[in-house]
Amino acid sequence: MQRYLARRLIQTIPVLLGVSLAVFLMLHALPVDPVRMLAMEATTGTAPTTEVSDEMYQSLRRQLGLDRPLPEQFVRFVWKAVHGDFGKSFRNNRSVGEMLFEQLPHTLRLALAGLSVMLAMGLVLGVAAGQRPNSWLDTASMTVAIFGVSMPIFWLGLMLLYVFALWLNLLPAVGTGPAALLLPAITLGFQGSAIIARLTRSSLVEVMHSEYVRTARAKGLRDRRVVLRHALRNALIPVVTVVGLQFGGLLSGAVVTETVFARPGVGRLALQGVIERDFPLVQGFVLLAGVAYVCSNLLVDVFYAVIDPRIRYA
């Protein structure tokens, strides 16, 4: 077990380095020269000329550290990123790390709420469907699931906003309270819940045919107990992996949900960064999201090994 954990941890390091390298190279893969872009914008404020003096260009380049050899730049980049320093925003000269960490709690709250909706809805629908395959409940649950994977989440958000906030006036459209979190959480969690429902169903149907479930039934246990205590325990194992993968969907979904509901958060901040071509901000966000995703998958793998003792750590 410990050896498995150690190996799994070591495997993660090259991926994290690769992620950092990809994010680092973003600034060098640009079709525009970011230094010239910055220098031009700095000069247009004071002088009418669009020409950038060579002196200014070189000093800006030095200031950004772009005059150093690439490997050195990369080591600096990683070193600084590990310490939470993602450079300065091109737009307002603030520290990107500061900007991101300021918005992070909003996104975490939303992601957590979305995750809860995803699990609650996905498991309830999946269990309802898998318990009695081909019943009307199964058909209904799986129809909802098909809608879930085909529906654009920003449209779902808009429709929920229209029906519950504007038309029925049941929930606030915007705000920071827990009631205002409900619609965004449903929007964010719906797609994942559809995937989880489908998987839980197929997994449960398979397990329900196994012999130990027949034994449980033969003992005279009630249906509910057979499903919840016996079948579901094993049926949920593959679901755990998918929940980990859905964490990525939550991250990119947060960008969309925050935009639809005009909520603060890192996603919306990053989106603005893309549109305003604020590269350090985008780099910081993408790096943060990538690392968070890799780490969450690592955690899921560890958790997986803990809950399923049959897994061999060879």
Binding site: P14, V15, G18, V19, L21, A22, V23, M26, A29, L30, P31, V32, I146, F147, V149, S150, M151, P152, I153, F154, W155, L158, M159, L161, Y162, L166, L245, F247, G248, G249, L251, S252, G253, V255, V256, T259, V260, A270, L271, G273, V274, I275, R277, F279, V282, V286, A289, G290, Y293, V294
Partner: protein, 303 residues
């Protein structure tokens, strides 16, 4: 007995002394299995209908999707304007039809980019193996570390916003999926005896890959590419909604929704119809892809 054997083999019944053996081609068999699947047929019919509607937009509506009509803003759906009009008096039905062209374009071009890069990468990784496989798969691992739309958002950030860059970004976002599926299928196909036979008659590695292995891994590629058109349409409209692609006068569905969002209280129809269009298109493509999967190989597993 003979009748049962015929039925099992899917042959026409043998009549009298003369045996009439009806041999079905593989394509015919796949087609029959596809048609037998109700969801797949419904999806195919809906999809053809959507493509036809987008293609014949100028016949179906007299309105121009960009024409502003200040006298008829916010009209409810009526016989004249089946989907109503928006805040500029533009006909929503016309915009949804013309937007369909853009969405199909995004889906197809992004999928072409994804297969164009992902399939050769998967073939190389699975076929050559060794260092090539290792390096390619590490690159794919890094790409997969940026989940969902994040990879596409990152690429748009590099290339700049715009519809062309968006299609490239969504396409590159689908590369890891293709590369992984193709690699896995190639590794499985290499174990077959026909590969050994091909090697025995002296085929070069290249001939082996292109003439023998590629045709045998086409089924998962076709299925994944079909499903990918749907997810690319979904991803494309999302990025457009976020303002990373086409610019506002465009009738792209995501753009229409971004526009309708501001007028949700006044005119629900501006937001409802483009969203329904995205959903129906994606759903029918999903049904077709799933039907193809079952028809081509019922045991095929898709991620």
């Amino acid at each position: 007995m003979a009748e049962i054997a015929d039925k099992v083999a899917g042959r026409a019944p043998t009549t009298g002394g003369r045996q009439r053996i009806h041999v079905r081609s593989r394509a015919n068999l796949v087609f029959r299995r596809f048609v037998a699947n109700r969801g797949a047929t419904a999806g195919a019919v809906a999809l053809s209908f959507l493509i036809l509607a987008a293609a014949s937009a100028p016949i179906l509506t007299p309105y121009d999707y960009a024409r502003i009509a200040p006298s008829s803003t916010y009209q409810r759906p009526s016989t004249e304007h089946p989907f109503g009009t928006d805040r500029f008096g533009r006909d929503v039905f016309a915009r949804v039809l013309y937007g369909g062209r853009l969405s199909l374009q995004v889906g197809l071009i992004a999928t072409a980019v994804g297969t164009g890069i992902g399939v050769p990468a998967g073939l190389a990784a699975g076929g050559i193996g060794g260092t090539v496989d290792n390096v390619l798969m590490r690159v794919i691992d890094v790409m997969l570390a940026f989940p969902g739309l994040l990879l596409a958002i990152g690429i748009v950030a590099i290339l700049g916003t715009g519809l062309t860059n968006l299609m490239i970004a969504v396409g590159i976002g689908s590369v890891p999926g293709f590369a992984r599926v193709v690699r896995g299928s190639v590794l499985a196909a290499r174990e077959h005896e026909y590969v050994l036979a091909a090697r025995a008659i002296g085929c070069t590695e290249w001939t082996m890959m292109v003439r023998h292995i590629l045709p045998n891994v086409m089924a998962p590629i076709i299925v994944l590419a079909t499903l990918n058109v749907g997810s690319a349409i979904l991803a494309g409209s999302t990025l457009n909604f976020l303002g990373m692609g086409a610019k506002p006068p465009s009738p792209e569905w995501g753009i229409m929704l971004a526009d309708g969002r501001d007028t949700l209280t006044r005119a629900w129809w501006v937001s409802v119809f483009p969203g329904l269009a995205i959903m129906v298109t994606t759903m029918s493509i999903n049904f077709v892809g799933d039907g193809l999967r079952q028809a081509l190989d019922p045991r095929m597993k898709m991620p």
